[in-house]
Amino acid sequence: MLKKYKITCDEATTICDKNQYGEASFLEKMKLNLHFLNCKTCYSYTKQNMSLTKLYKGHASSCQSLKHCMTDEDKLALKKEFEKIKL
């Protein structure tokens, strides 16, 4: 009966990665936990994945505060090209 819920390591880690964003479904999480019973590797992958998620989140907040602007030279060059096309 449990065969239905059996998944490969590839599938298990896919669910684990999805779960890092809180988007795995209940059924997926169940399959993942069932997989852990037989697979220490994926279990340790999951633990490491959680600490990587923390790392990525820290990186995300430092990146999001950056606003990218075009340099004045780039804008000037763009304007010149733009005028050429207009004519």
């Binding site: 964003y21 994945n49 790392l55 990525y56 075009m70 763009l78 733009f82």
Partner: protein, 194 residues
């Protein structure tokens, strides 16, 4: 040739002479965040302005100028995405799992995650760690880096990425999965286990 459209009834004016001053920064930021490459972003913004100029007569004033230009830019980003998608395909991806045979879906022996020695330093304030992470993201195939950044770093909604890049959500999760397993491996080799 006069590109300023004046519609008497709606009073819609498309004033192309102010486009660059008004929208270049906004559009550039929009593009950089999505393609993570300043030169490509610049090209996309330029292409967008040119395309906008060409089709200025189609502008109906139903949306603001900026929204209209961004919709063109979005198309350009999808085109760019398609290009990198077909150019690089999946050749560069390092496989972590067997993809056929009786071991299909199992970890490939020498790709199995190792336990980490260097657990102490996981603080992103550490500049060295941060630049190592950036190097590892940059080492991903372009398509994976782009989707990973959008989802993880810029924290876009899944639905939004799928719509913008014209992919399905299961497609997105496979890309995220491949990006993350590859990234984990890179960080293991260059940070956690050196």
């Amino acid at each position: 040739m006069d590109f300023n459209l004046k519609m008497t009834e709606d009073k819609v004016t498309l004033d192309t002479s102010k486009w660059i001053d008004n929208y270049a920064d906004y559009m550039y930021n929009y593009a950089v965040v999505r393609v993570s490459n300043e030169d490509i972003a610049k090209d996309l913004v330029q292409d967008t302005f040119f395309a906008g100029l060409k089709s200025a007569k189609n502008f109906q004033g139903k949306s603001t100028e900026r929204t209209w230009l961004v919709s063109i830019l979005k198309r350009k980003i999808i085109d760019h995405y398609r290009k990198i998608n077909s150019k690089k395909g999946q050749a560069e991806v390092r496989m972590n799992f067997y993809d056929d045979g009786e071991n299909e879906g199992n970890w490939i022996e020498d790709r199995v995650p190792q336990s980490w020695n260097n657990q102490s330093e996981k603080n992103i304030e550490n500049e060295e760690l941060k630049s190592q992470l950036e190097r590892c993201i940059d080492a991903l195939p372009e398509k994976y880096a782009m989707v990973f950044r959008m989802k993880t770093i810029q924290e876009f909604e899944t639905e939004e990425i799928c719509k913008e890049l014209d992919i399905t959500s299961s497609n997105l999760w496979v890309i995220i999965h491949r990006a993350r397993t590859q990234l984990r491996r890179c960080m293991e080799d260059n940070w956690f286990n050196i």
